[in-house]
Every structure is written in structure tokens, then in C-alpha cells.
Amino acid sequence: MTGEMKFKDEFRDKSLVQNMAANIRRMAERLSAPVNFMEVCGTHTMSIYQYGIRSLLPENVRLVSGPGCPVCVTPTGYVDKAIASAADPDTIVATFGDMLRVPGSHSSLMEQRAGGADIRIVYSALDAVALAKKNPERRVLFLGVGFETTAPTIAVTILEAARLGLKNYCVLASHKTMPVPMEILSGDPELNINGYLCPAHVSTVIGGNAYKPLAEKHHIPCVVTGFEPADVMQGIEMLLAQTLREESKVEIQYRRAVSWEGNPKAQAILRQLFEPCDAVWRGLGLLPGSGLAIRGEYAEFDAEMVLKLDIPEAIENRACLCGEVLKGKLAPFDCPLFATTCTPESPVGACMVSSEGTCAAAYKYGR
């Protein structure tokens, strides 16, 4: 078997996926009540829509999308801060592309850029350090958004800027950590989550062990799952098997990429640069200990400390139901703005912006 087959083609094999779907239907016949399985990973959201996974499942096995898209959970106030920073002509704002269209209270970075602000899209955060090196007379501010997958990469850029002795690089950090919101949603009786498809990429860093307290405390089965269609189907099979055995433990379906311990080097760099902090999640509110703040030793690279931005309180669009979509309480199609006033070209809410957003995936691939 070649590597390409082993790591990709086999996991997209249609007949394999269909066999697994038949198996899931057989297993589901033995359920005493319908089950709700939640995924909390933007890549899963995309994959589930792209491959039409929901259409392969019986009615009593429901998939719900949770807060797995980092751009989507970034609060409006953060976008306002980014926009305020970009107003300074001596500042270059560097960002991953999907932050550009996210609406702030009055505008987006895209609109600001059209108005002349210097906002650059980078593929890697290290590109932002290179920009700082090339433009010593200007400040480069990087928008640090993402979960445990992205945070270590941002940490590397701060270490690199320190090594190069750069005084003009800083990060506006809004990193979030994953198990916390799952913990909050697990206790929500309205959602009644019976199992988690735990994120693929985040888990390569934090490892399967990170979900053990959640599985034990809330008696919810957790399966760390890959994002190819056969992976997702197997993750669902494993959750169903646990449900039928009345078990609630952590299993790793995505074993080829995820270990129980995770990536120790990434974890160490993350801990070196960041410390846990309370963080505001769009839709979920302030969650204690769910964010990552840059440690005091690295304050010179922390945009919050360097700029001391004081901005007015954010204004949320009250018609936007992203908050309910992020909690899994509403499907995109339940929102009256979906595909009417809110589209990927002209998004009202963050879930329509990022390619990993539930609404963007639903818009692109349909039901």
C-alpha cells in the first residue's frame, strides 16, 4: 500500500463508508432513545457537510455541531480591537485570512483594508515575524486566534522575535482551549449530549488523556476522531458501541495522528509562553480558565500590554443567531438570516465567515 492510499484514499472509500453506515443503522436499532453526538472541530463540521454524513445516519443518531471553529467563537470586541489597532498608520496588522470578513461592531478588517488600513494575510504566523524584520520602522501586530493547535505556533513566533531582538512585533492573543466549553455544554439539559466526536487536530497537541475528566465527570463517551469520511463513521460507530454497552470512556479512533499524551514539545512551548485565563466565547459568554494569555515575562510581545487599547463595549447584531448555532441549539437552516441577508460574501455572523464555520459549510454543501 502506498502512503497516499494508507493515509487518505482508503479513508474515503465509498463502499467502506456505506458498509459502516449499514452497520451504524443495525446498531442504532438497539438504542432505547435517540442519541445526540456533538463534534467540536471545524474540520469535522466541513467533512460532515461535504460528504453528506448526516444523510447516511438513521433518524435516531443525530449529529450536532458545537463551538469548534476558532474564528467563529472569537468575540466581536476582539475584532473591534483589531480594527482599532489597524487605524494606526505605523501598524501593519497580520492575520490568517479567515478573520478578514468577521464583523466587528461597526466594520470588518476587510472594510478597513479597502479604506487604506495596512492589513496583510499570512499563511504561517512566522510570515508575520518576517514582515516585522523587513519593516523595522513599523509595528507588526499579529492576530493570534485559534485553539491548542495554533497557540504553540504563535508561541514559536514570539520566541523567534525575541531571538532576533525584534522590538516591533506583538500578538493580540485570543487563544482558547478546548475541553472547557465541552464541559459547559455537557451540563446543558436542553442539549442532552450523549457523546463527543473529539477534535482531530487539537487532540494531536493535547492528547486523548485531556478528555478523561470530561468522560468521567459527565458520563459522556468521547472518541477522538479523524476527519476523513470513514474516520467520522468509525467515530460514530465507537460512540454507539459505548452507548449500547452503557460505557463512558475516552477512545482514540484517530490513532495514526493522536496519542494519549499528545505532542509534549508543543505543550511545553505553549506552557512556556501562555498561562490560562478567563475568556469570552461568542455564544457561550465568559468561561473561566478557557483562554490563553501571554505570560508576563513576554509582555513586550503582548499587544494588550503594549497598546493598552481602550475601546467602547462591543455591539452585537441581535438578529444574528450564531451564538445558538455555536452551542448546537440551532442548525444554520433555523436562522432566518441564513442564505438571505447572511451569505459568505456578505456575512452577518462569524459562523458564515470561516470556511470551518457551521453556516459556511451548510451554505456551501447544503443539507
Partner: protein, 70 residues
């Protein structure tokens, strides 16, 4: 993505004919040409394990047995 070349902490990795540069400082493992990596925002975050990939496919091809569901 498959590693096609390496220069210090930087590799070129390829999938479907598309090549990307990636930084490997976040990986503990030694990385060689021909290894498969998961790349996120310009950084390799995990090296794929061939044995586990084969094992997963084998399990997928097996239908869950009655004991699994009991």
C-alpha cells in the same frame, strides 16, 4: 502531507501535487523524507503512524461484533 525535502527546521511537503513549506520545530520525532505530517498554519503538528493507519483500516473493514454491542 508527504515530506519531499528538508532544510534544517523547514520541510517541503506535498499532497495532490501541491507543495507547501512547513516548520517542524514543534515535533519531537526525527523527520525524514517520505514521512507523512499533519500541517497546520505552516507548522507540522503531528507525524502520521503507518502501523496505526493500517490497523484502523483493518478495524473499519470488520463489522462490529455482537459482543461489541452487548
Amino acid at each position: 502531507m508527504k515530506v519531499v525535502s528538508r532544510d534544517g527546521d523547514t520541510v517541503i511537503a506535498e499532497v495532490d501535487g501541491v507543495q507547501r513549506e512547513a516548520n517542524i520545530t514543534l515535533l519531537e520525532e526525527n523527520i525524514d523524507i517520505g514521512d507523512y505530517l499533519i500541517i497546520h498554519a505552516g507548522f507540522a503538528i503531528s507525524k502520521l503512524d503507518e502501523e496505526y493507519a493500517e490497523e484502523t483500516i483493518r478495524l473499519m473493514r470488520e463489522v462490529f461484533s455482537e459482543e461489541d454491542m452487548a
